[in-house]
């Protein structure tokens, strides 16, 4: 709009979908709520699944970024193992996360961030969402958007999750969405650079 906006870029963080193998589809509530024309960026941590899902992710925003998970070998449209994306004054490191040894280890992730001069690490792999801060850097794991099970098949039901960021200058609004019993629960917080 040719006018000042107090609304920033809206970014979808998602990943570990495994559609076609571990899960049949993305819940329609999630597909519907994401809609069209709302997102400026989509950042996917990898392990997408079938082509149909990958194509859908590509077209729900004008800026799609995806990195390679362990199960993305057949997808020749994913070129990177990690990617640095700049949005506003924020630099985001997108990486699947299986590269971190041990998983989710703060020190290890920190090293990756420093090497790339990034502020936020967005990664998946554990199929559990996470938003945390470590030494002035942020870690965000958006979980699995389909509710697919992780590397160890568990009997517990995994809830579909994803994260929405709103970029507001040196602040980011962080919205964690979780689908529980067909309803979307939302948790909100703010992070500052």
């Amino acid at each position: 709009m040719a006018q000042e906006s107090n609304y920033g870029d809206i970014i979808l963080l998602c990943g570990d979908l495994h559609v076609g193998t571990r899960m049949q589809k993305i819940h329609e509530k999630i597909v519907n709520v994401l809609g069209v024309n709302k997102l400026q960026h989509v950042l996917c941590t990898g392990n997408v699944g079938n082509k149909e899902t990958f194509d859908w992710l590509k077209q729900i925003s004008p800026n799609f970024h995806c990195v390679r998970g362990q199960y993305d070998d057949e997808n020749n449209e994913i070129h990177n193992d990690q990617k640095v994306i700049q949005i506003g004054i924020w630099k985001i490191l997108l990486i699947h996360g299986h590269q971190f040894v041990p998983w989710n280890d703060e020190e290890t992730i920190s090293v990756f961030l420093k090497e790339n001069s990034c502020d936020i690490a967005v990664f998946g792999n554990s199929h559990q969402s996470l938003i945390s801060k470590f030494e002035r850097k942020y870690f965000i794991n958006p979980g699995t958007m389909s509710g697919a099970y992780g590397s160890i098949k568990q009997d517990a039901i995994i809830q579909p999750e994803f994260v929405i960021l709103e970029c507001l200058g040196d602040e980011m609004g962080v919205y964690k969405y979780k689908l529980v019993n067909g309803e979307l629960l939302i948790e909100k917080c703010t992070i500052t650079k």
Partner: protein, 335 residues
Amino acid sequence: MQNQDFDIESLSQNLVGISNENQQLIKDVQNILRNEIVDEDGLIKLCQQGFTNQTSRLRGIVWRLLLGYFPLNRKYWTQVIIKNKDNYNNIKIENIKKAPPQNKNDHPLSRNTDSDWNNHFQDQQLWSKIQKDVIRTRVKELGKEDYREMLNRILFLCCKLNKMDYVQGMNEFAALILYMCMSDPNEKLQNESDAFYCFMILMTNLKNNFQLQKEKVRAFQDLLKKVDWKLHDHLVNQKMDFSILYVKWFMILFAQDFHIDDSLRIWDCLFCQKNNREEFLYCLAISFLIQLREELIVGDFGQILLILQNLEKQDINLSEVIQRAHLLQKEQKKC
């Protein structure tokens, strides 16, 4: 705050190059405006043939009066302008530059009607839809970036505040009104806020304008039959569908394609028809057909269509058309 009387003396300044007849018209209108309460009927009698380039300086005040934006009592005009400038500023701030979301339960993907984000996305879509039309509306006269933004704002705010959909054609109406305001020789009348309110009033008056109303096409055809049955029958024989004229003539009210001075003049006439706008519109349409009678009556379907769908390209004396329309209207009253 000083309540200055709106200046009408400047209307009769700089009359060089203006015909005696038009100079008289300007002075007569000025006299009417000099009274404390404007004699609306007297004003309409003077202005009902519409303004030409020589008399267009009168348009700003006359439109504002006939639309009801200005009250008939001149001492309030300055107040009206100032107050509405303020109101418009507030409307702009509230609807365009919005405060960030306050609601605790709000989030970017919300579809709730009271969600700030949801409203923001709807707004964006409305803005874009309007913008697509605005960039090709009256490019010659309103092509400047500033004017484009004004036009976008006026249309956007009107649709938003009235909770109505944007419909193609509204852009042509708003463009005429905006151009009328911004090209006024009197600086005090060059206000986007005036254009906005006048447009809002117009939209309120034209409630069902953008729906095809078959009865109107029928009425138009019947009137042509009454006035010139030979021409009517020829057009019918050539399988002419009268509803193809409906959009450009009865819906868009001659606001599109015509040279802007001609569109404005036609609207001068329409505004002067306080309660008989529709009737006059039929008479005007018929008058155009009669003006082109010679070519139409020998034309086949294709030739007829070519002429009527490019009315603005025909060599037409608009003064004659308007005069005839008034005569037709008088004659119909006698029947």
